[in-house]
Amino acid sequence: MRDIFFKVIKLGVKCVLVMLPVAAFPLYCQKCMLSFCGPDYVGPYWNKEFTQMPHEKYYSTLIIGDSTANAAYLPEVLSDSVVNLGLAGSSTVEGYYTLEDYLANNKAPKDIFVSYMDYHLEEDEFTWDVCNFVHKLSKEQNAEIYKMVDKYGAAPVEELTSPDFDWDVLMYSVYSPTIYSSSVLNSIGSGRRADNKASYQDVDTRLGRYSSITNREYDPENVMGYSKFKVGKLEHEYYKKILKLCKKKKIDVHLVKLPLSTDAGFIDNYEAEVQDYYNDLLEDYDNADFYWFHTTYEHEFFCDQYHMNNHGAFRFSRELKEQYPDIFEDNQDKSLQRMAALDLDIAGENYMGELTKRIDDKPYTLIILDGTGNLQDLYYMYAGVNGRDVQWLDLEDNEKYAIYYVSANGEKFSEDITVDATGKDGVVVGIGADLVQLENTKKTGISFAVVDNITKKIVCARQCLYGERGFIDLLDSTGENL
């Protein structure tokens, strides 16, 4: 008997040793999600992390919605205490749990903005698998989803979520290889870790925005007619849950219908149906309003039929700020976090006009190297719109070029910025450890660097070509197209 006992123990120990990789796998998945997950999971993963942890900083406004909302709302433009919690592919289902998680860990915001495109309200399609993959949904939330889908879903739970709901929830919760092994295998040698970390950092810096970050312009093929507005039962119920939760937490809710591109046409009773639906929905909620941006934006403000590109998002955010001035009254604050997001916006710009709009009157300094003698054109076309004067930097005589600066917020030239003009063909601009070379582009245009006075970083360096129509194309500092 004793012999058998020891043999059983020996066998058990050996089994545990042999099975170590099975135990190590979930541990790896849990600790190193960004090392293996696909690029589409980075945004939801950030969203999960953000909503499931307490934050020292108080965010007075939250954005909830789908990818169109995630693309359209620029927190850094709106105010210093906005965060965009929109999730690509999501409906009100995930929106509710995003809010629930955030409120469970943080002080309630004053306002939330909720925006969903029609198709995410009409069809019972949501990101159940993605949310579970990143462990965004708790066991209780999954159980509630099951009940709600079972009761209000247009199709059976199996069809809308998984053929084996409970089992899959369990498999997700234990990071089972049956769910995660392909991702881990595909990540080997693919450089996903570095890419995902950079993407994660990017989402973090942009305060939750990760959809349609592009300047690509939409090229519509035909007119998109909107004739019917319908909200699915499930989405309607979750809309109500969002409103109830906000009422309970004394949060003002603003349901915003986003602008569409000019190829959209509202026909039949569409507009009346939209208004009727929201009137009915908000009947019992004094703390909520519905606002429809009836304005349509030109195609160049969209990257596809529904999603605004960077320029569209910038325009929309500014208009929203004008629409709700009381909510975004704290927009004078320029925290490091907000400036870092603005830096990314500026660095991603490929139009001079858009770039100067983003700089606006914020604490940036432009160092300009002009070898053309036509700076006045640039000044009037772009820099001048901010009403700031271009100042000559009195460094030393140079026949080839002149050096100027513009302080966007009108403050005096920062002592932290260094400009070394001793070089042959250009100057070296620096702030802290950040240095950039501005080359003399006499034949083609001017060179300039944008310096962030708050984060003490050089945001970007550009060359602006001078042609028959004045300064037009924006190139990077080496003269390559952006």
Partner: protein, 533 residues
Amino acid sequence: MLFNSTEFLLFFPICVLIYFVFPKKIRNYWLLICSYFYYMCWNPKYIFLLMASTVITYASGLTMEWVKNSDKDEKSKTKLKNWIVAISFVSNIGILFYFKYINFAIETWTRIMAKLGVTITPPAVDVILPVGISFYIFQALSYTMDVYRDEIYAEKNILRYALFVSFFPQLVAGPIERSKHLLKQLAKPGEFNYDNVRSGLLTMLWGYFLKLVIADRCAILVDTVYNNVSAYFGYQIIVASILFALQIYCDFMSYSTIAKGAARVLGYELMENFDLPYFATSIKDFWRRWHISLSSWLRDYLYIPLGGNRKGRIRKYINIIITFFVSGLWHGAAFTFIIWGLLHGIYQIIEDLLKPYTDKLLAKTKLNPKNAALMVLKIIVTFILVDIAWVFFRANSLGEAKAAFRNAMQLGGLPPIKEGLFNLGLDQRNWIMLGLGLAILFVSSVMRANKVGKVAATVINADGKVTTADTADVTSSVAGTGRDTVELSKQGALVNWISARFFIIRYALYWGCLIMIIFSMDITGQEFIYFQF
């Protein structure tokens, strides 16, 4: 509950733990409960079919035993026994026919009548094929035949007999066990044996490796091509066909291996179902190595009773054709399976007809029949013939099989192999994993063929007790202990070789194997191919 499901990975340890905790007397009853539970997890109502087959064959055995011991004359005894066997066969085959072949028969009959200009609209029979029905019915019938032939005594304990028919490791996809082998072991409940459990678990691990790393990966490419065969040509069809040969081998062998390992953990030894079939040097040799439990069943209970090769060459060939026709039909109610079976029958006949000439050629050229190059050539030729037959087996219809052959001949206008192979469902990483898996399988097969490592031996004592041991131990102790059955298990060559390594190497290999399994776990979650039979 599939072997490759998480449910089974929970079910099995619980089953084993309680099995060994229970007193010996009730262990088999526990196994019977587990076996019935295992079967009912698929569809509870079909347990009645399993019970029906069990009761019929159990009763037929007892009745035959009673007839044997009665005072009747031999002629009457034989007549009565024939009737009992006939009733057992007809009722069991009847069940099988209804649940597996009724729609095929109706459809075929309708087609024949339509060709003759008679339109009939037969009633639709809505039946689901009960999982494992072909396996347990054949196993139960083998018992009837063995009692009939006086090769065993009829089992009196119905629960033990029920366990023999429903023993969960091999219930749904074999091996089709023989009463002489398994029923005898069940007479004595398994005891906890460290070596058995360890070897059984490692054998199961190897089975999972074959299924998840190789078979399921092959399945992705094979399904891509064969589910849209008209869209693929040349090397794409050829690669898919070769991979199907590997898929079905690894898929089926993995099931048998896991079954064998699971049974060994419980203290029982199942028969070998495969013996390196793709190392076969002829079609006849292939059938000695492929699905051994079925081919030996067909040999013992069909081919030999039909007369085998004892009644002249023509009858022998007819018997071969009948046997392979039944083999094809056993696999599925479709003409593709029948053609597959018949093709193998024709191969064997041609092989037999050509044998005198090939022997003469060998004698003339004075070539050693054991010459390595000649053996390799034979292996390749046999594999090609087998693989051609597999096309019928895998194709969704005869038309698609024809299209596969036609398209395989079209070699022009295809993307370069390097690009084209990655567009068939497997990306580069999965090709690497598959290649690695196949390399390990090849090495293990070569080791097994060369009997590298200590060859495990299964020793079944006169009282049915099973143990495994090294061959050296067996040979030295057989005479003294009265052990009456010794089976050499060549399958454990790799497992035994690994077991003899230094522990760092050993664990590195275990972990390597396990990591490959982990990286294969979410590929498709495919069922075992032989479940459908």
